[in-house]
Symmetry: C2
Subunit: 240 residues, 2 copies
């Protein structure tokens, strides 16, 4: 007997299993005026239309999670090619008052200066200081708290802090990023020593003189060198 | 006009949005005979029935992701109250050959000795050395690789390696856990110094004499002390 004939059609296997709505919510962080900021938007659908919300939307039938995330960020803010990392799948049954909706959150880091005009053009998007957030809908405050905790964890062991800065930056600016993320003051000498001894920054032949006559050297993060060192067992580590 | 009357019923808001099957897959790690091991099971449903698979299942209508994970692990292995951490939401459209199924993966760490009989009793569950895995279905090999990368990252900055050991253990045993996870040899003196100077281990008044006449002191991880130090800005860190 031909075994294939006795097997049901593949598509029959999972019938009877529950199906669920899946949303995506994005915690978009930026660094500006010495502060860590969060991008929020006025919610465009009911319920809670007009309230402050993370950038989000539903995923479609034939769309991967990462494609949906790219589409949602692009459509609501105009942003493309930015650092995005999956944070968590939120699966509490009553997290959305309308229906059972699971949400996968992503956090993104952007260089504010490079994108501010685009974001102002995007309807309703606005930056808030992380220390002065508006009331956000649903479990979005919890998502922001998780993203901030994850950012604090990651920024110590991965060079993602540079995503918040322009391609060329000074050591005081870099320290300021870490201080804004941790909301504490770091010792300048220890920070410089820690960063420079990893040998990942390339000093440029140019100084930023906006804050002092002596000025501060501009540096660039050397991505190739980081990849090379990492493949040889090196671990990035910033002591905070 | 009463605004409430003009608003549609809450449950109408999200109609028209796609609904999706959501599975859970668990990467269960154990440490035994000096090796990091993975628990796999013979898949109990079609397609690929009988093939090696991670422990998994679908989530139900009124069940949170974490409740579903607990249910699935308990039903398939008898394990309860173990260390479980969410790993990733896998959303590629074609990751399951039968239907569009998103999967949320979790990794778990267990003390093998405490549970081996239970696992032998659970139909079809079996330990494989991480360096000699069987062919796993779908994208499960990728999930295992991600879980291992995450474990390597986490075990350096969080005291989760202790989850793989009995409550009392020797420093050589602890070093062996790190060596098994990283699959490399660590310097004994540096490792001891690194671990002991964090002041998180409590030396017991008892020695393990199975490996030498001199013996090795037993230690216990001091959870309260770790919480106390962490709340004061201490960061766990093991250099590998």
């Amino acid at each position: 007997m031909n075994q294939a004939l006795t097997r049901p059609d593949l598509s029959d296997y999972y019938t009877g299993q529950a199906r669920h709505l899946i949303a995506i919510d994005c915690i978009i962080f930026g660094f500006d005026e010495g502060e860590l900021k969060l991008l929020a938007i006025r919610r465009q659908i009911e319920p809670n239309r007009g309230n402050w919300s993370l950038i989000g939307g539903f995923i479609n039938e034939n769309e991967s999670l990462s494609d949906a995330t790219g589409r949602i960020i692009r459509n609501l803010t105009g942003l493309e090619h930015i650092y995005v990392s999956q944070l968590y799948a939120h699966g509490e049954v009553n997290r959305d008052p309308v229906a059972r909706v699971l949400s996968v959150s992503y956090y993104a880091l952007i260089k504010c200066q490079a994108y501010n005009q685009q974001l102002i053009d995007a309807a309703g998007a606005r930056w808030f200081s992380i220390s002065d957030l508006p009331q956000l809908i649903f479990d979005h405050p919890e998502m922001v708290a998780m993203a901030l905790a994850e950012l604090r964890k990651e920024v110590r062991v991965k060079p993602i802090g540079f995503e918040l800065l322009p391609p060329k930056f000074t050591l005081p600016q870099l320290q300021c990023v870490y201080e804004a993320i941790y909301q504490k003051t770091l010792d300048k000498r220890n920070f410089r020593k820690n960063i420079l001894q990893m040998d990942l920054l390339e000093r440029l032949d140019e100084k930023d003189k906006t804050n002092s006559r002596k000025g501060a050297w501009f540096y660039r993060f050397n991505t190739d060198r980081y990849k090379q060192l990492s493949s040889n067992g090196f671990y990035f580590y910033v002591s905070v």
